[in-house]
Amino acid sequence: MTEIDLTPERYDQVLEAIKEVIDPEIGVNIVDLGLIYDLKLAEDESLLIHMTLTSAGCPLTDVIEEQMGQALDGVVEAFRINWVWMPPWGPEKITDDGKEQMRAIGFAI
């Protein structure tokens, strides 16, 4: 299946919208946690979100999908999440903004 790149502007626009999706366990958005690995367009032009979770087998995929639906409402026609486990997520993927948000809610990092 061929995947098409988004334009940089479109990529940033979609990524910004996804920042509304909060990891329910940590309380910080999934973009700044470094959970989004890539965004592509599928052949049917739906958005393909390659993302991971902080731990494999995390039971929160339903919650994230639901939040994603709300965050992307009006931004894209359709989307699909492709759960990725390689490479595994690690705390080094958290952005500086993400670290700052975690500190604000009390994590000592």
Partner: protein, 250 residues
Amino acid sequence: MSILQVKNLHVSVDTDQGAKEILRGVDLTIRSGEIHAVMGPNGSGKSTLAYSIAGHPKYRVTDGEILLDGENVLEMSVDERARAGLFLAMQYPVEIPGVSVSNFLRTAKTAITGEAPALRTWIKDVREAMDNLRIDATFSERNVNEGFSGGEKKRHEILQLELLKPHFAILDETDSGLDVDALKIVSEGVNRAHAASDLGVLLITHYTRILRYIKPDFVHVFVAGKIAEEGGPELADRLEAEGYDRYVKA
């Protein structure tokens, strides 16, 4: 438009020799947007006035009242006073080991507004305020005031002022121990807060130096626990030239 009124305030502290009266009938009214400088020699009771308004338990109000928009401030706990819109920048800010600046600021903001600020916008607001006060970004990770220099502590007080957006700010010798550069940065912060939210300011100081950067509407000379003279900014110029001797000897 808010109004903070101090009426005939008498305050005592308990000492080994019994109760000692520090404030002996202070009258002061501050409205939104006004900047009042309270100037006086050491030991005149300036800080006692600040602490009494903020609600420090060491200071016992024996007579008089403090009203914020007609509400009795003296019946409020310290946190209630903060939520009502009062803010104190302390002369000697305390260290809080184990609590990061970042977490402290957000917890304080949440406590005052009654709801947690949206995390991403909050982080941006904090960063912008820190930049304005030339506070290094790494400070957010550090424990509150722990290992801060005198100037850094004072800038951190003004950071709280700018983020918590009170109606009235009492600045207790915020200028003491600051070099000229830090004094300018701190003054700019106070002026920004004043311009942004029609803040009322009670600026307590020993020196006229800070009044070059923060222009008071009213100047009160504080001697022996009460206001000895009141006037406009010109009074500060006179104090600069003549000192406090005239009042102390009288």
